[in-house]
């Protein structure tokens, strides 16, 4: 218990100092909200609009969740195929890399026009596409970076490639998969949020941030940003919890990733 406290309080202290300095700056320089809102303003906006914040966070979070789910499934599937068939790997890896470089701001309007703008589909798709690459890359690495001695062992046991995949490669890839998920989960929240700037239902965090900013209500805008940060953190912590569930505690300390 002591050790937990001892590593928690330095970041909290730093955050407190930072916020304190920010507040001081605004007060001393008498900075107007349209230039820089004070933390106190942001906090009051946050608590006043708490119900709205959570509503918006839930909406964006749902988009992020489905995008994360589909992107992860697609990434897993692609990685399994690419590992098995070299030709698939050669085709898919540059494609995945190319997709990863297409910015959300270009992708979203295209998808909005392809699919019904009033539905969640375009945003979920954008999120899935963004999530796909980190999952794909990490799972591929996990499937391929197997101890060669273990591969020799499997050959000595007359294991078919499919058996080696099931018994060796996939369990080996699990820590790598979680590495990818830890990157992908907050990314999914960001993607879902940014995609909201480009049209569609307006209940989410991205729409709210844009709307507040357009009305120069920066205090409110930052309050929504805070809600977005919290949402991203929740996603991240959920992945960590999942990892704890799937892999035994001691394995993580020992794991090579």
């Amino acid at each position: 218990m002591n050790s937990k406290l001892s590593y928690l309080w330095p970041p909290i202290l730093v955050a407190a100092l930072f916020l304190g300095a920010w507040q001081l700056l605004v007060v001393i320089q008498d900075l107007k909200p349209f230039l820089l809102p004070a933390p106190s303003l942001i906090a009051s906006e946050f608590s006043n609009g708490a119900a709205l914040m959570w509503g918006a966070a839930f909406y964006t979070g749902t988009t992020a969740f489905f995008g994360l789910l589909f992107g992860t499934l697609a990434g897993l599937f692609m990685a399994l195929l690419a590992q098995r068939f070299i030709t698939v790997d050669k085709l898919v890896t540059p494609l995945a890399a190319g997709l990863a470089t297409v910015p959300i701001i270009a992708l979203t309007p295209i998808l909005n026009n392809m699919f019904n703008i009033t539905s969640r589909t375009p945003r979920v798709l954008v999120t899935a596409i963004i999530v796909l690459f980190p999952i794909f890359v990490n799972v591929m690495r996990g499937l391929l970076q197997v101890n060669p001695v273990q591969l020799e062992l499997m050959r000595s046991l007359n294991a078919a490639p499919r058996t080696t995949l099931r018994v060796l490669r996939i369990p080996n890839a699990i820590p790598f998969f979680f590495t990818g998920l830890k990157i992908a989960a907050p990314l999914a929240v960001i993607a879902a949020l940014v995609a909201e700037y480009f049209g569609g239902p307006q209940e989410g965090l991205g729409s709210r941030i844009a709307s507040a900013a357009a009305n120069t209500a920066y205090g409110r805008a930052w309050a929504y940003v805070l809600a977005a940060i919290i949402t991203g953190l929740i996603f991240y912590l959920a992945i960590i919890a999942l990892e704890r569930l799937v892999t035994p505690r001691s394995a993580q300390i020992h794991s090579k990733t």
Partner: protein, 396 residues
């Protein structure tokens, strides 16, 4: 140093001094003051033109990309009106992420074009800006729907998928719906549109937000697959917020409040407003020429779309009984009332308190009107009639 003309110089200096004095006075001016100012202005202008050795550099921040919506300013620049006023004006295009009134307040520009409600919101957040010329008199915001949806008033939006651009552009719509007894959060399904009309054309939404001068034209430039011809106005219904009584003031010239305490900036502001309004008068009477100026300045819009825009913008400005750029108290009050009382989805209003009287001033617009009238120009557009514009496919 011509001895013979020295008395003219003295008179000019005195006149300039008088001009400064009148500029410093509060907004309501008497007729005599106006005439004096006009005479002084006229003389000063003549002398100013002769004396102008160095143009004053001025930056204008627009609200969007170069298009006929800003015709007056580009006309004033290209036709030499700014130069006439001893100004060297640089026009900065706007964009999605550019908030012109913030650029102005932070010192990134000398003047900015902005819709009044958003500018008032910025004012409330501390941006020191003043409306010095209300160029657009009526609102160009429409809610467009297919004729077969039978949406002719705000009340008809109930239960429908209503598109809007978000980004703070939705208040007239919300006010209109609220006035008609609807709760925007629950009685309609709100959808944010992209800055095109695809969602309406694909019938994904029932009503779309559009400007008379831009997006509305986009639907009329689209070919109706059933007829092979362009869509006609008869294919659509529009809700006009001016008719519904919830319209708000739009494009205006904003200046820096802090700098307006400075005499030199006041002088520059007067010159800028005068030249800009002269540009708008020119665009009223020569719409095609102005449309061409816009195109020459880099607008990618097609020729017929540009002319449509110029014509529709003119309809928003003219006729203006009190003179172009002059703020009418009832219209200002309506704008303030909607901004104060209309709640958006989050229950937030545009502003939370009445803006002070110093948020706008008519002195520059009125002085400009006087000067331009003295030049022989018509500043009220009482004889104005819009032209007929034929749109081509794609706006070309």
């Amino acid at each position: 140093m011509n001895r013979g003309k020295s008395w003219v110089r003295v008179a000019a200096v005195a006149a300039s001094g008088l001009l400064f004095l009148t500029a410093c006075s509060s907004s309501d001016e008497t007729a005599t003051e106006t005439t004096d100012a006009a005479t002084a202005e006229e003389t000063a202008a003549e002398e100013g033109a002769a004396e102008c050795t160095e143009l004053t550099p001025v930056t204008l921040q627009l609200q969007w990309f170069v298009q006929a919506q800003f015709g007056g300013y580009y006309a004033a620049k290209d036709l030499g009106y700014y130069e006439e006023q001893c100004l060297d004006v640089t026009i900065l295009e706007g964009g999605v992420d550019i908030v012109p009134q913030t650029v102005l307040a932070q010192g990134g520009a000398d003047y900015a074009i902005s819709w009044v409600p958003k500018a008032l919101a910025s004012r409330e957040q501390g941006a020191g800006i003043v409306d010095v010329a209300q160029v657009f008199r009526t609102s160009g915001t429409l809610q467009v729907s297919w004729a077969d949806s039978n949406i002719t008033t705000a009340a008809d939006l109930k239960g429908k998928k209503v598109g809007n651009w978000g980004f703070g552009n939705e208040y007239e719509l919300f006010a209109g719906m609220t006035k008609a007894g609807l709760d925007p959060a629950n009685d309609v399904e709100l959808v944010q549109q992209q800055f095109d009309m695809q969602a309406l054309l694909n019938r994904e939404i029932d009503a779309a937000q559009a400007m008379t001068y831009n997006e509305y034209a986009q639907v009329l430039e689209t070919v109706n697959p059933d007829t092979g011809e362009l869509y006609q106005p008869a294919d659509f219904n529009v809700i006009n917020w001016n008719d519904e009584g919830t319209a708000m003031y739009q494009d205006a010239i904003w200046a820096s409040e802090e700098r307006l305490a400075d005499a030199a900036y006041q002088d520059t502001t007067q010159r800028f407003v005068t030249a800009s309004l002269k540009g708008w008068i020119q665009c009223r009477d020569n719409a095609q020429e102005c449309a061409d100026i816009i195109t020459a300045n880099g607008s990618k819009l097609g020729a017929s779309h540009q002319l449509w825009m110029m014509n529709e913008v003119n309809k928003l400005i003219w006729p203006s009984a009190m003179g172009i750029g002059v703020i009418e108290p009832e219209l200002w009050a309506q704008t303030v009332s909607v901004s104060l009382n209309t709640k958006n989805l989050e229950g937030a209003t545009i502003i939370t308190a009445e803006p002070p009287a110093t948020a706008y001033t008519n002195q520059y617009a009125e002085a400009a009107n006087a000067a331009l009238t003295a030049e022989g120009l018509n500043t009220t557009g009482d004889a104005y009639a819009p032209i007929e514009v034929t749109l081509n496919e794609g706006g070309n």
